[in-house]
């Protein structure tokens, strides 16, 4: 029998069958699902505030409150000893707090009547237990209180903290140190200091209690016995992980999410909606850190020329839609204790002159940046373009932040030029000055910066208990750093957020405080 070489040309009957199959399968699923699409249930949405956050909350364990996502969540569940309000240190669980004259110990008096969500009273023993636990865990927040030596419960409401050396930053750092229910945590301590238990459990005394934690969604309900109870706080807060900013925008527009950080491009996307768009004032500062100890950028002339080449205004406008301020010093523009320095500005002729005077030509530099931030990539490209105008070739190399941290361990491995967005972890100028510019801070000193004059000032500030006196010293350090062209401050950037219009208390009181969800209230 001959084998047919043509393709079959009959018209079978399966048309209806196939159509039915598709309709029965995918179609039915779509219809079933679609009927519920975009609808919220009948839950009382006015009493429930849904907040979108980006990036994974690794754990709720306050030992990792050095990580922003954990800190934002723990603010709701836990209390700290002290806090900040508009940049000023204020009492929280500790009603009074004083340094010893030599800044090596702190005396605390605890507020009475504070209870944990378990019903246990918060006493001095809990404070001691928490601090000792952070030391034993040895990771995360302990890095900010590394001078912690020991503490003693003098009685139920008094604690004495001893430090290994004078540390004027310690008290401010307590604003990131959460107090744990020692009885509850001890029950679950196991062999890991309860780290695995605290991952998704609450042992705090904060304004909210944890109801559930699963799949990146954290539901919390208002704690009615909270010492600073406010009935205007929402009955329920849900933290929902949404990484994509376009999704956050659409969910807020649809009314399924009540607040979250939005893209600069979405500033005008909420017109006609019951949503308020605002800018957190100067949240972090974009800056370039030079390796001042080795390589081509060890030459101050190179650093000065690079600083003079960049079009700061153009970059702020193009990348951040003018949501920010041109930098005028090494630290964010709205921190206190800053010297009066001129704003960064482009001057290509002067940049060329600086290079010529130093006898530098055919210069090739390498800059590292984090490619997961589109704004960083854009700024890197703009700098590359600007430097080409003064005859400097800039090579761009992406780097992960974790790799960058490793490189900081040795000044020889610190990148020549590194672009970073940085803010104070709490509203104390000293935290940035000391960690970033003190030569002894290997591992956090961003540029291997070492200037004996700056070191002497920093070491003086550390042992100075008086805040005003410290403030003047910090200002002097910044002048020294700026005079050395150790960094290239670009702009302090405001972040945009969008909130349901009846939600109040969403403003950031001061830099480093971040947004505190505990201050959120609902209704007029």
């Amino acid at each position: 029998m001959p084998v047919p070489t043509h393709r079959p040309r009959w018209r079978p009957a399966p048309g209806r069958l196939l159509t039915s199959a598709i309709a029965a399968g995918a179609g039915a699923a779509v219809l079933l699902a679609g009927c519920a699409g975009g609808q919220s249930s009948g839950a009382d949405r006015d009493e429930t505030t849904v907040i979108a956050y980006r990036n994974q909350i690794d754990t709720l364990d306050p030992a990792r409150a050095d990580y922003q996502q954990t800190d934002n969540s723990d603010q709701l569940l836990y209390d700290t000893l002290i806090g900040y309000d508009k940049g000023k240190m204020v009492p929280q669980v500790a009603s009074t707090f004083t340094y010893s004259p030599d800044v090596t110990s702190i005396d605390l008096t605890l507020r009475s009547g504070v209870t944990f969500h378990s019903g246990n009273p918060l006493t001095a023993k809990d404070v001691v237990y928490s601090l000792d636990r952070y030391k034993a865990v040895g990771q995360g927040i302990i890095g900010q209180i590394s001078t912690y030596k020991s503490s003693t419960a003098v009685d139920d409401s008094h604690v004495k903290i001893e430090l290994t050396q004078p540390d004027s930053l310690f008290m401010g750092a307590l604003s990131r140190v959460y107090i744990l229910d020692s009885k509850l945590v001890a029950q679950h301590a196991g062999s890991d200091q309860a780290q695995s238990w605290l991952l998704d459990h609450d042992a705090g005394s904060g304004p909210f209690t944890l109801v559930s934690a699963s799949g990146g969604t954290y539901q919390m309900s208002r704690a009615d016995k909270f010492w600073d109870f406010d009935a205007k706080r929402p009955k329920t807060i849900i933290l929902r992980r949404i990484d994509d900013q376009a999704t956050i925008r659409d969910e807020i527009r649809a009314g399924n999410v009540d607040g979250g950080w939005i893209s600069y491009d979405d500033k005008d996307a909420f017109a006609g909606k019951n949503v308020v768009v605002g800018a957190s004032p100067d949240t972090f500062q974009m800056a370039i850190y030079f390796n001042t100890s080795t390589g081509p950028t060890a030459n101050p002339a190179v650093r000065e020329a690079v600083r003079l080449a960049f079009d700061y205004k153009g970059a702020l406008s193009t990348i951040y839609k003018d949501q920010g301020t041109i930098a005028n010093g090494p630290l964010p523009t709205n921190l206190t204790c800053r010297p009066d320095l001129p704003a960064s500005a482009q001057d290509l002729n002067k940049a060329k002159a600086v290079l010529a005077d130093a006898g530098l030509s055919d210069l090739t530099l390498t800059m590292r940046y984090q490619p997961n931030f589109p704004e960083h990539a854009a700024a890197a490209t703009l700098l590359q373009s600007d430097l080409s105008k003064i005859g400097v070739k800039l090579k761009l190399e992406p780097i992960a932040f974790s790799d960058y941290l490793t490189m900081l361990n040795d000044p020889k491995t610190i990148p020549s030029i590194m672009l970073l967005g940085e803010g104070a972890s709490y509203p104390d100028t000293g935290v940035m000055v000391v960690n970033t510019f003190w030569s002894k801070k290997i591992g956090t000193n961003r540029g291997g910066y070492a200037n004996p004059a700056a070191d002497a000032l920093i070491e003086k500030a550390i042992v100075t208990p008086d805040a005003d006196a410290r403030c003047k010293i910090y200002s002097q350090v910044q002048q020294t750093v700026d005079g050395d062209y150790a960094t290239m401050p670009l702009y302090t950037v405001s972040m945009l957020w969008a909130w349901r219009s009846d939600i109040k208390g969403t403003d950031i009181p001061s830099p480093g405080e971040g947004i505190s969800y505990r201050s959120i209230t609902v209704g007029s």
């Binding site: 393709r7 018209r11 079978p12 995918a26 249930s41 949405r45 695995s196 999704t247």
Partner: protein, 343 residues
């Protein structure tokens, strides 16, 4: 003369091969993670940790030992079914995967169902009407859809079908107000198990669009393979004989063309099912869903070796298991495979 192989022996061989594959995979990933720059102890200790604190964390995590020693410890734990403790969360890697996997599995299973339900009938329909202009249009349309980047397609589908037309929820797993008890970790299944049909419907509505987006490249490939197989088989002599003998067209397709044509398609489903678990990150990010993909991405970012290893091993196990299932299905349904494998 060939020797008969008992099916149990066939399965045992396949399982052994799978274990070998997983061990090789685990070793390769371990070596790669150690080779890339970055210090796990530095990241685990925290940004502001002092050198002493970093050293203590390094010792605590066992990172101060040689790479071989670390690898042997890892294998030793693995033999006991212990994936270790995450250096970033300090929780059990196994528990974290158990928390995230069901969400990804839910989307992956629905994606496969959508692919099969849409691609195979459409491919059969297209092959049997392979000469018209409509066929060309269908083919071009399928190719275009299959060629679109999944991430972009997800954004497009979300913007159009969710944000504008409100056909599907925009993101997440459940709407506010619904809660389901945690049984399997897959909200739709958990809601069904608890008898909460409205919650099940709501949870399922959150799965469909991510699954549809994820299924499109797979459905495109499945469509092309099925269509070309049907055309190839339809042109073979025994089909011509059957037609001449008066076998009805529907029966011809159902009994004589489609079954052999589906052989490569079944293999494709098996291979793709495992791949969906790793590509799910593309839709999980856009649709704000938890899952294995986003967990692994985060672990890579913070150089959490054991979590990355755990995720890779679990995805590897899924690939191996789905390949085994495909082999068994083929063994049962195809006498040629039976003849080749068991004798």
């Amino acid at each position: 003369m060939s020797r008969y192989v008992h099916p149990a022996l066939f399965i045992a061989r396949r399982l052994l091969g799978g274990i070998g594959t997983l061990l090789t995979l685990a070793t390769m990933v371990f070596i790669l993670l150690k080779a890339i720059p970055g210090d796990e102890a530095r990241v685990a200790a925290g940004e502001w940790a002092t050198p002493d604190q970093v050293a203590a964390v390094r010792a605590k995590l066992g990172l101060d030992r040689g790479v071989l020693s670390q690898y042997l410890s890892f294998l030793g734990r693995l033999l006991h079914g212990d994936l270790g403790v995450s250096s970033s969360t300090h929780g059990s890697v196994g528990s974290a995967i158990a928390d995230q996997l069901p969400s990804t599995a839910e989307v992956a299973v629905v994606a496969v169902l959508i692919s099969v339900t849409v691609a195979i009938p459409l491919a059969a329909f297209s092959a049997l009407r392979s000469s018209g202009a409509w066929d060309s249009t269908r083919r071009v349309t399928v190719l275009m859809l299959a060629g679109m980047p999944t991430f972009w397609l997800a954004l497009l589908a979300q913007s159009l079908l969710s944000a504008k037309l409100h056909v599907f929820p925009i993101s997440g797993q459940l709407s506010v107000g619904y809660s389901v008890p945690h049984v399997t970790g897959a909200p739709t299944l958990d809601a069904l198990l608890s008898g909460d049909l409205p919650a099940a419907r709501d949870a399922f509505s959150h799965v469909v669009l991510p699954a549809m987006v994820l299924s499109i490249p797979q459905a495109g490939l499945m469509y092309r393979v099925t269509r070309s197989e049907i055309l190839r088989i339809a042109a073979r002599p025994h089909i011509t004989v059957a037609r001449a003998a008066g076998v009805g067209r529907a029966r011809l397709v159902r009994k004589h063309i489609l079954p052999p044509a589906l052989t490569p398609v079944i293999i494709l489903i098996g291979v793709d099912f495992g791949t969906l678990f790793s590509t799910a990150i593309l839709v999980e990010s856009v649709f704000g869903r938890p899952g294995l993909g986003s967990m692994m991405t985060n672990a890579i970012r913070v150089k959490d070796t054991l979590t990355v290893e755990g995720c890779v091993l679990v995805i590897g196990m899924i690939v191996v298991a789905s390949s085994l299932v495909v082999d068994l299905v083929q063994l049962v349904r195809d006498p040629r495979v039976r003849a080749a494998e068991l004798s």
